[in-house]
Amino acid sequence: MRIIIIGFGNLGRGICRAFVEKADFLKRAHGLVPRVVAVADEFGAAVDEKGLDLPRLLKIAEGSGTVVGYPGGKRGKLALDLIDEVSADVVFELTPTNIRTGEPGLSHIKRAMQAGKHVITSNKGPLVVAFKELDALAKKQGVEFRYSASVGGAVPVIGLAKKLLSGNEISEIRGVLNGTTNYILTRMSAEGLPQEIIIREAQELGLAEKDPTLDIDGIDTACKVTILANSVLGINAKLSDVKVVGIRRITPEATRLAHEAGQMIKLVGIARRDRLEVGPKLVPQGHPLAVGGTLNAVTFKLDLAGEISITGFGAGPKETSSSLLGDLIDIHRTLGG
């Protein structure tokens, strides 16, 4: 399969590393030979229709912060033009999330679909801003559209709901969907430290963004609730439909009082047909959502199966490449590969 990758940060590099390390496995187990024919970042692009030398590309990108230094690299080349010009089967849209405009991801995805290319993305922005439009466009163009990595990182939330549980009616999805806030709450409870100090340390460890507002104020979780509402529950929901409370006001004393009563405070996202909500909740110890550290956890309420819960890592380039690669293999199979 010929692949274009737009955005070459942690996730772009992570999926390329997986292509390199798992080349034998992908061929043997799935008959899949991924060939990355173009990679674009904010500075330009590297193109080779015969397939880029990925170890070399990774080395150059890690050294210089861009793929432009790859032999024949094109400085200033726009991703949009690349999508049109380079023939490929699948476009990975892995640029940073903008929850207000969805850009630049939204334009990339639309252009790829219009060009008849399948799309895989981790980018929440376009999904939150224009889920219905993109879903319709994919159908109209007859292309596959996958976004497993946008919710839950490595945890197969969307795939489980849409494939393996498809015989059920899902009445509710709720989960701990943001690893950063879960890490902060876990440490507040264990160490009794104020939030500011833990946030600073999380930033030093690379577990929190320089501006952690989207995580702390529950917006990131609300984006995921919006995506789940649209993709799994089939509700035409917008981000503004989600009632959001973040964890900013949670004190170390509150986590201690919860602990003394056998409870933990978790930032929980809830998607139901009649209610979309994000807020700090008391979760009993031993409950499926009582996961610590940076873990994510999701529970589905189903008419046949009852409750099903899954847990795992919600972030990290290697972990997320599990979802991205899963989407690629799924498209490969859908197309009869």
Partner: protein, 167 residues
């Protein structure tokens, strides 16, 4: 299960201990004790209302037998009273926004009692935190209490954290 009990004790030293010992012996967890001095009986006995939690009916039976053996008179027993216990957290200026009023508003609902309040006062300039246990006679009343508390919290600018299982 939560038990509400009224026992009549002689108004002499050591009686309360005598009444509590059997409860403690069988693992009962006492939530509140209230002397009802104004209701002293003509014989000079003092009613004491207790709310405590026990594992099950069998344990309660053992406690009642032990109380009888100790000569303690139990005049009222309500096993279903406040059966549903709900724990919530509050964060904000809990004391300054009149905690007494908040509790009174909940206690005003028939069949609902605030049975426990743990307050952690924040350091200077910081918000306080509290854990509140609300006892209600049934699920509907518990929900009513939570939604009333939500309204109060919004008015008073407090953050209410409820259980993930409470819908």
């Amino acid at each position: 299960m939560l038990v509400k009990m009224v026992m009549e004790l002689e108004d002499v030293p050591g009686q309360l201990l005598k009444g509590l010992e059997p409860i403690a012996r069988y693992g009962g967890n006492i939530k509140s004790i209230m002397h009802q001095r104004e209701r002293k009986t003509p014989l000079g006995r003092l009613p004491v209302m207790l709310i405590f939690e026990v594992r099950d009916q069998a344990t309660l039976k053992r406690i009642l037998a032990a109380l009888k053996e100790a000569g303690i008179r139990v005049t009222q027993l309500g096993e279903r009273e406040g059966e549903i216990l709900t724990t919530v957290l509050l964060v904000g200026h809990i004391v300054h926004t009149d905690i007494r009023h908040t509790i009174d508003q909940l206690n005003a609902i028939k069949g609902v009692t605030v049975s426990e309040l743990n307050l952690a006062v924040g350091s200077m300039g910081r918000e306080s935190s509290a854990r509140m246990t609300i006892a209600a006679n049934d699920r509907e009343l518990a929900q009513l209490a939570i939604s009333r508390l939500q309204t109060i919290a919004e008015k008073k600018g407090l953050l209410l954290v409820t259980s993930v299982e409470a819908i």
